[in-house]
Symmetry: C2
Subunit: 323 residues, 2 copies
């Protein structure tokens, strides 16, 4: 590890993050979100110290009680002496500019626990996208020495599915008795589930939902990885011990199977592609500002004087020095 291109202050911030200092880490995350060049250099120095954390994705529809489940999991893992990081991805509010989910407040009781680091992310406004930002936050938490990082997402947008699919283990939370349309959405997220939790299982229809899910899983192609289905009533802490055990079992599966290595390569590849897209765009925009200007080109597209494909190709050719 060399620090040639990292300023003195940055070197000490890298050391602070490695020592687990929350304030330094939070500032670095903010700078990374804004793609501050020095911050990226710091992340490069942190990278060799990552890879120790286990990343657990938890997703599900609004009202499925996944925040309650995350809350229970934090407590269990804290009781086991683990350092826990939480990345909570919320729809952003145009009014507050940030996370506003009411039941996130419940998690704040962990705020005074030094072994828990919670970072809320808005779904919009990240330079280079939510996925890039989230991966950076995970890397920083990982380098800080967190044993477990929980990524909690709301909704089933492509971006959020991408985020969750980079976790080591993905938990999808559903509730009994949903309408047809919601059932369809569940099918969409079955693709990324390693563990399915039917929460609020004291409601009517829980066994039916378990049966429906089992049937849907049976329809998958042969050789698809096994998915565990559990029932829970998270609000009463029922089923949480089973969930922790299922996560452990899946983690052991990953350690012993080619699947674990395949996922690590998938994660590396999607991160590389994400960054390449982001950096290429930044680069092109920087050059554009020096030339004709973005505004002029955008105006020509809006007026149908040039089509967007030709405009993008022309920019890329200039970027690559081909013209």
């Amino acid at each position: 590890m060399t620090s040639d291109n990292v300023r003195a202050g940055a070197v000490s911030r890298v050391e602070d993050v490695l020592a687990g200092r929350v304030v330094s880490a939070a500032r670095l995350m903010r700078d990374l979100d804004d793609l501050v060049p020095g911050a990226v250099d710091e992340l490069k120095h942190l990278y060799p110290h990552t890879g120790g954390a286990f990343v657990l994705g938890v997703t599900g529809n609004p009202g499925s009680g996944k925040s309650t489940i995350v809350d229970c999991l934090i407590r269990r893992y804290r009781d086991a002496g683990l350092r826990v990081g939480v990345v909570a991805i919320d729809p952003s509010s145009p009014f507050t500019g940030g996370a506003i989910l009411g039941d996130r407040i419940r998690m704040q009781r962990h705020a005074t626990d030094e072994g828990v680091f919670i970072r809320s992310m808005a779904t919009r406004g990240h330079l280079g996208g939510l996925s890039r930002s989230t991966q950076d936050v995970i890397s920083v938490m990982d380098a800080m020495g967190h044993d477990l990082i929980i990524v909690e997402t709301v909704g089933v947008g492509q971006d959020e599915v991408d985020v969750v699919s980079t976790a080591h283990t993905s938990v999808v939370v559903v509730v009994p008795g949903l309408g047809d349309e919601i059932q369809a959405i569940k099918a969409g997220i079955l693709e990324i589930a390693d563990i399915l939790v039917v929460n609020k299982a004291d409601r009517a229809g829980a066994d039916r939902t378990v049966a429906d899910l089992s049937m849907m899983l049976d329809l998958r192609s042969e050789g698809a990885p096994a998915v565990r289905i559990l029932k829970a009533v998270a609000i009463n802490e029922e089923g949480i011990a089973d969930l922790v055990e299922a996560v452990d079992l899946h983690r052991q599966d990953l350690d012993h199977e080619a699947e674990g290595r395949r996922r690590a390569l998938d994660r590396a590849e999607s991160r590389l592609k994400d960054l390449l897209r982001t950096l290429a765009l930044e680069s092109a925009l920087t050059r554009l500002e020096a030339g004709e200007g973005l505004a002029a080109l955008v105006e020509r597209i809006a007026e149908r004087k040039i089509d967007p494909y030709s405009a993008a190709e022309q920019l890329l050719a200039e970027l690559m020095g081909d013209s």
Copy 2:
């Protein structure tokens, strides 16, 4: 319009699309989805013929009844003699590989109506992303001569919000009596709403929901564009005439205000950036295949021998001929 670099068959396909032929248009959409180079050339030739269609976004949570609303709107606009295109964005199923929403079937009654062209899109698996694919489909429908294009999306993922925010007018559908968490999500999509429809307004709490939404809108900064709030019971066709009128009024606002031009520039800019990202990545991957190979680089990232930022920068420098 020249056709130098378009093959003879492609020239006739361009002409077929301009003549409104559905089979040719559907094939072109499929080729564009796969980024077939010839198809992109065809789109370039279609681009000068676009800009005539009015794009209406309709979004909302699962179960809000937005498909029923879209169904009613199609009928109204057809009765008025307009040609209507519909882009339905669904969560994809790993089992069917496509759209599976049950109530999409209801829309199929329009399938025999030559004045309605419905295209379902999966939320995943588009080269260059959902947003790029959707914009291409809209451009083709526009060039075909559709007067109105309705883009219907499920959920509130960033990608879907991006898609809807490129519409001329965006309708957000909500239902009365939702929990706190869903209210919070509504706040997230208030940002993109020009018209809010409280559907299923025969349920308890409809007036309360209208009042809540009005209050949230009042909290926005001064100068924010006016948002119309309507009640509807779409299943009984109640409130649909009001919705059509609200869309007309918003459309007139756009024609007479700087807002319309600002949105056109926003659309052009986001499309240019989307394409630049996509083409830059394609370019980099092509070069990579000729060199060290993507697999080898991904492996080094997974093994923490190189960090993803350095790897992406290195690739980009090679791409730009700087190294």
